[in-house]
Symmetry: C2
Subunit: 134 residues, 2 copies
C-alpha cells in the first residue's frame, strides 16, 4: 500500500490555482491516467483550460461551479465531473471564505471522447454486473 | 461536461459498506478504469477484500484506517492510497460518529503491479514535466 498525503505534496501556481501534480510520485505507468490535486482560492477562478485529455474530477471540499460548453454546474463535495477532450472549462469558487479543493485524473482518449460523445455515451462495453473491488 | 452527484447514485450494501458502482452511469470504455463511491459507517470496518485489480482511492470525508500488508495507515480527507494487485485490505472507520466516504478507481494491472512493485515503483516512464490539464 502506498499513501499519498495531499498536504505534503509539492505544488506550484498556475494563475491563482495551486497545483500538485502526481508526476512527483514517480509511479511510472502504474496508473492508467495522470493525476493532480488543485486548489482554487475563495472568490476566484481558474484560468480557462482546454486540452486533448479527458478529465474526471472529484470535489474534496468546497463547491465547484464548473463552466463548460456554455453552462454552469455546481458540483458538491464527493461529487464528480467529467470533461471531454478539447472541452474548454473554467472552475469557479463562489465561496467568499472556503478554498475549493479537487482531485483530478486525466488521460488521452482512446476514441471519440469529445463533449458530444460523452453526453451520449451508451451502455456498450459497460461492465455492469461485473465483479470488482468492494 | 457530465455531472455525477454522489448523493443520488444507486447503491447497495456489502457487509456494512454502502457501495455505489459507476457501471450505473453506462460510460462504456470512456474511463480507463472502473469507479465507485463507498461509505463505511462509524465505528465499523469493511469486509476484507482482495482482488486482481490495482485500486487508487481518495478519502472525501472522515479518516480511513487502511489495513494492508500487516500495517495500518491513517488517510485523511483529500489524501489517497494505492493498493496493489492481490493486496488484501480492510478499511476501518475509527470515528464514533462520522461516516467515512471514499471515491475509488480500479483497473487490471498491465504488468507486475503487486504490493512489492508498488513500493519500489521507479521513475521509468514518469511524465514529469509534461504538459497537461491545469
Amino acid at each position: 500500500m502506498r499513501h499519498f498525503p495531499s498536504d505534503s505534496a509539492e505544488s506550484y501556481l498556475i494563475g491563482v490555482v495551486d497545483v500538485a501534480r502526481w508526476e512527483q510520485f514517480q509511479l511510472g505507468d502504474t496508473l492508467p491516467f495522470q493525476a493532480m490535486w488543485y486548489t482554487v482560492p475563495p472568490a476566484s477562478s481558474s484560468p480557462q483550460d482546454c486540452h486533448p485529455e479527458v478529465e474526471l474530477s472529484v470535489v474534496i471540499s468546497g463547491t465547484a461551479s464548473v463552466e463548460a460548453s456554455g453552462e454552469f454546474t455546481d458540483v458538491a463535495p464527493g461529487s464528480c465531473f467529467l470533461l471531454g477532450s478539447e472541452e474548454a472549462h473554467v472552475i469557479h469558487n463562489r465561496s467568499a471564505d472556503q478554498p475549493l479543493f479537487i482531485f483530478t485524473t486525466y488521460w488521452m482518449p482512446r476514441t471519440g471522447d469529445g463533449p458530444a460523445e460523452l453526453a451520449t455515451a451508451s451502455a456498450a462495453g459497460s461492465g455492469a454486473g461485473e465483479e470488482g473491488p468492494s
